[in-house]
Symmetry: C2
Subunit: 117 residues, 2 copies
DNA sequence: TCATCGTACAACCAATCGGTTGTAGGTTGT
DNA sequence: ACAACCTACAACCGATTGGTTGTACGATGA
């Protein structure tokens, strides 16, 4: 369970770690686009864009829907939020550190025995 | 300027796209740790951990401070927040799409001329 | 029916990644 | 002075990445 979470986090951050994929994600969050329509926007082969879309899809950031011979892709905002919540978790860890520091500073400065570990 | 932003986003997401680096980041957000102390926590060579720390540092997620012969690393919560704000921007794009859909649904259904490119 | 479009995927390639070992330099304590 | 410690970095290696071209297949429209 912990590994699957890490796998998912790996996939999400990796999918976001490429500017072309981030740009594709922006477009499909703004509205549905076929893979061809997306490919037309970039100075690279159709296959390259199709692979980027597949990476986003595997990470769960993008969902495809068939419409005739086209695949319409749209962004999944829930996945974006799940990444944001991972960052919030990190920030909470930092807050805990600050809280510990504040506690130390506010405790009796003459005390030399209120620490642990 | 747009390229530098993208470079920075690439570096940030790439730094986060590895579970060992995310774990290191959690530790250094919770408090300062020397590179050796960090390396002792993982089942890999010191050099491997040192490289992970360097990746986090280059991305700006981690700051090092010299103390004697040790390098004390601590996480930079501002960088974490900057990543979170990128995700918020993505969510805003999605909100715009929803707003546009709502607008369409609430406009006169008989109208066939209230769209734009 | 058949040419065309939209898509998926395989095979390949250079570059990068995540790991290793080895070397070297600065700091510390005796 | 010197041994031990902490760190940085180079060189190397197998795996993965981001790109290419080529092929194949289902859906569409004349």
């Amino acid at each position: 369970m912990v590994t699957e979470d890490a796998d998912r986090a790996d996939a999400l951050f990796h999918a976001l770690a490429d500017r072309t994929r981030r740009d594709i994600l922006r477009r499909v969050l703004a509205g549905e686009h076929s893979v061809s329509a997306l490919a037309a926007k970039y100075d690279m082969s159709f296959a390259a864009v199709q692979k980027h879309v597949a990476v986003l899809e595997r990470a769960g950031l993008l969902i495809k829907r068939r419409s005739g011979r086209e695949q319409l892709a749209s962004g999944d905002v829930a996945a974006v939020r799940s990444v944001a919540s991972m960052l919030t978790e990190l920030e909470q860890i930092w807050r805990g550190r600050i809280a510990r520091i504040d506690l130390l500073l506010s405790s009796d400065p003459d005390s030399d025995s209120d620490q642990e570990d």
